[in-house]
């Protein structure tokens, strides 16, 4: 029995055990990455269809034909769900977390490799199930990614609310289970498998961010699982957890006495931490890249850790701010509002520290650095509209308008995506052994940054002017029609930005096979993943376990032979 487990760490043979059902966290990380890459293109295609329909409502499109209002609702539901679950949760945590976290703490693999593999394949099944919702009769569901009942709880509520909605909920339930498996694996690995000398306060901030994200996922996804089970019961067993007495098409349905607010409480108890699940890994990557490429220690390491812990903790106490308009005691609204604005404090600490890290640094403007700076920029401009929405009085005007769409796309959508881009450009050399093209990377960055602001900044004005989200068509309404030019501008910007992503894909796949070979430590970084070979061997460190003597951000240390001190350099190198 002992011998069997010892052999589990020797490299597996055969294509299937090596690349498909692999137990190696690096392979699983890449699998997550490519799953998210597929998902992000599906999600982006859906948003493109929505944008085109918005300004040319009558136009017949290839593949989908003319977009009817219910098709539009299906598009936005699937866009939101796929992006939030299968991109923003999957890529930073499942993808880069899986690949990098064990190496950065000096572990040969995750604590539970089998669970890790099951977690990926469960996510994969979830993705297949949600894509299947497009192809069943009635099509994809209409209820948005938040799935508010009664719309989501009644089979007869609309064309997509039959089998399509069942598949949607099933997919999310499967995703919950997969995320739980992943989260407990991440936490256990971080707690139990740190190399000698890698104390908690010597962990890179990326590890901290994945660790805290995993705690959030562990506590949040269980609640969503319960909420989903109750929703499935309402839909298929005729219970009335979420459904009051409803009349559809003049027919009284059998439901009675339930409350849609119950779903909103359960959903947002998950939903708000989910926002931080998406953004926290981005914060970790930004910290890592800013410090490495500004050649300075991160400004306020401990403050960064406590800020992330604070954000995670507060994130569980603010779900009510999504429900100001759903009927809530003004006193609760007041409490939720204050707590929400409290999140501004750790967020401001982080921003201040990022700027402090850059201040007087010897900045190397490689592509990952550009994306990390872009992340900070988006985090600030998307975050500033948060305190507006946190106030119940302002929320009455802004709720469910494009202001909200602009806000959350900037901060949790594109900022998190910028974190993913920074991570991709930063760790690509380690993952594939080759460098990405800098020129293409820069072109990609500047078009994407400008495009992002061109798309989402005007949405704030649309929202303040009273344009509601989720409406498929504004051309027929007189006062809304005046806003159409701005919508047209957004659509054009979206088409350009989406086209620019082709540059990224070309860069990614071209560099994977034809890029210049990468050295073991191309960024001259200090963390453990850069001490091993490129790409790392099966057990990460070729049979040795590294010993750590330094913190993760020892740049510009006086008296050191180089301007950086690797974490595993012997203790004699610096005074730190």
């Amino acid at each position: 029995m002992v011998a069997q487990d010892a052999h589990a760490h020797s490299a597996p043979q055969g294509f299937i055990r090596k690349y498909i059902f692999s137990l190696d966290h690096k392979v699983i990380g890449l699998q997550y990455f490519f799953l998210a890459l597929t998902a992000v293109f599906v999600g982006m295609f859906l948003s493109l269809l929505m944008r085109i329909h918005m300004i040319w409502p009558g136009v017949s499109l290839p593949l989908v034909g003319e977009i009817k209002p219910e098709t539009y609702l299906s598009l936005l539901t699937m866009h939101g769900t796929i992006m939030v679950f299968f991109v923003l949760t999957t890529a930073p945590q499942g993808g880069f977390g899986n690949y990098v976290l064990p190496i950065q703490i000096g572990a040969p693999d995750m604590a539970f490799p089998v669970l890790n593999m099951l977690s990926f394949w469960t996510t994969f099944v979830g993705f297949v199930v949600i894509i299947a919702a497009f192809f069943v009769s009635g099509g994809a569901p209409l209820h948005g990614w938040t799935g508010y009942p009664p719309l989501s709880a009644l089979q007869s509520a609309g064309p997509g609310e039959g089998l399509g909605a069942d598949l949607w909920i099933t997919s999310i339930a499967i995703f919950c289970v997969a995320s739980l498996m992943g989260a407990l694996n991440f936490i256990t690995t971080t707690l139990d498998l740190r190399a000698k000398g890698m104390t908690m306060m010597r962990m890179p901030l990326t590890v901290w961010s994945w660790f805290i994200t995993a705690i959030l996922g562990l506590l949040a996804f269980g609640v969503l699982l319960s909420a989903g089970i109750l929703l499935l019961m309402d839909r298929n067993l005729g219970t009335s957890f979420y459904v009051p007495l409803v009349v559809v098409n003049g027919q009284v349905l059998g439901h009675k006495g339930g409350s849609p607010l119950l779903w909103q409480h359960l959903f947002w108890f998950f939903g708000h931490p989910e926002v931080y699940i998406a953004i926290l890994p981005g914060m970790g990557v930004a910290s890592q890249v800013l410090s490495t490429l500004a050649r300075k220690p991160i400004f306020g390491y401990k403050a960064m850790v406590y800020a992330m812990l604070g954000i995670g903790f507060l994130g569980f106490m603010v779900w009510g701010h999504h429900m100001f308009m759903s009927g809530m005691s003004p006193y609760s609204a007041f409490a939720f509002s204050i707590l929400t604005m409290c999140i501004g404090v750790p967020s401001a600490i982080k921003t201040f520290n990022w700027l402090g890290t850059l201040y007087k640094g010897r900045i190397r403007f490689h592509t990952p650095m550009l994306y990390a700076i872009g992340f900070v920029s988006l985090f600030v401009s998307g975050g500033l509209s948060g305190p507006f929405l946190a106030q119940p009085v302002l929320d009455i005007q802004l709720h469910d308008t494009y202001f909200v769409v602009g806000h959350f796309h900037l901060i949790m959508g594109v900022a998190a995506i910028f974190g993913i881009f920074a991570a991709t450009y930063y760790w690509f050399p380690k993952m594939f052994g080759r460098m990405m093209n800098e020129t293409l990377g820069r072109i990609h960055f500047f078009i994407t940054l400008a495009g992002t602001y061109a798309i989402f900044m005007p949405m704030h004005y649309l929202g303040m002017a009273g344009q509601t989200r989720r409406y498929s068509q504004f051309t027929e309404v007189a006062y809304q029609a005046k806003l159409i030019p701005l919508q047209t501008f957004i659509t054009v910007a979206a088409i350009i930005t989406i086209s620019a992503q082709i540059i990224f894909v070309i860069n990614l796949f071209w560099s994977m096979f034809k890029g210049p070979k990468a050295s073991d430590n191309p960024w001259e970084a200090t963390t453990l993943e850069w001490t091993t070979t490129t790409p790392p061997p099966h057990d990460n460190f070729g049979g040795v376990t590294p010993v750590v003597y330094h913190g993760p951000y020892e740049y510009g240390v006086p008296g050191a032979p180089r301007d950086f001190v690797m974490q595993n350099d012997p203790a004699t190198v610096s005074a730190h």
Binding site: M1, V2, L180, D192, G222, V223
Partner: protein
């Protein structure tokens, strides 16, 4: 045995002493189980929140349970509490390295767990027969009239929360019994499970909800087979302890459900 298990755990993680001491001094499997339980308590917490939420705004909340139901639920509670005791004995035996008694105590735990499930299933069938039901359940013809049938019609939240909570818990107990069975008997438990599944499916009449519910055993059989295929190993004292953590958690959840769902819905004379 104890030495062997210790060695097993460190070999799994590479060279002994190559790592920082784990937090709380716990081995990975135990940390993993605690984390799962943290997340599962949130899952149950959400269901209990749904129950409390419905109960608070549904006025009046029905309180139909007779002494008979309460007595039955008390026996079920006693079964679970006894099973916790035998589970502790199993963990002790495993730590002593006493394989025979580990197996015996695990078997005793499984028997108590199974008794709980069977009693609970009979209770469910009786209540459904008297009319306490949700629309999606198959129901015998007798379910149409009576006090409980009125409750189901007027306050659908009552049966919905009752069946939702207890079904989730019963599922956890079932998973627990299968889990302990796999730990105690490994692959030899799977055929037993298969026989129980087929027998249950054939013997339980089609108008009973457990005619369909028994398929949980098939699911357990498949998952158990996959896990035994991926980890074809002997289970050691650590595994027994970790399975014990799960079992005690399931008992603990019942200690919330029993007073909330049963005792607080006792018929007031």
């Amino acid at each position: 045995m104890a030495d062997a298990t210790l060695q097993h755990d460190t070999v799994q993680h590479g060279v002994p002493g190559a790592y920082e001491a784990p937090l709380f001094g716990a081995y990975s499997k135990k940390v993993g189980m605690w984390l799962f339980l943290a997340s599962d308590s949130l899952t149950f917490g959400a269901l209990l929140f749904a129950f409390s939420y419905n109960r608070l705004y549904t006025i009046p909340w029905p309180t139909p349970f007779h002494a008979e139901s309460i007595a039955n639920a008390t026996i079920m509670t006693a079964c679970l509490l006894s099973s916790s005791l035998t589970m502790v004995m199993a963990v002790f035996a495993a730590q002593r390295g006493d394989r025979a008694w580990t197996r015996n105590w695990l078997l005793a735990t499984m028997v108590f767990g199974t008794a709980f499930i069977v009693l609970h299933g009979m209770e469910w069938s009786k209540l459904i027969g008297e009319g306490l039901t949700i629309p999606g359940f198959p129901k015998p013809p007798s379910a149409a009239t009576g006090e409980l049938a009125d409750i189901s019609k007027n306050v659908p939240q009552f049966p919905a929360t009752f069946f939702g909570l207890t079904a989730m818990h019963m599922l956890h107990v079932t998973i627990g019994v299968i889990y302990l069975g796999v730990v105690a008997f490994r692959k030899w438990f799977l055929p037993i499970l298969g026989v129980l599944w087929i027998a249950g499916y054939l013997l339980i009449p089609a108008d009973n909800v457990f005619h369909y519910g028994i398929h949980a055993l098939l699911l357990g059989l498949i998952v158990g087979a996959v896990i035994l295929y991926l980890k074809p190993k002997d289970y050691d004292a650590h595994d027994v302890e970790v399975s014990g953590l799960y079992w005690h958690f399931v008992d603990l959840v019942w200690m919330f459900i029993f007073p909330l769902v049963y005792l607080m819905s006792t018929k007031i004379q």
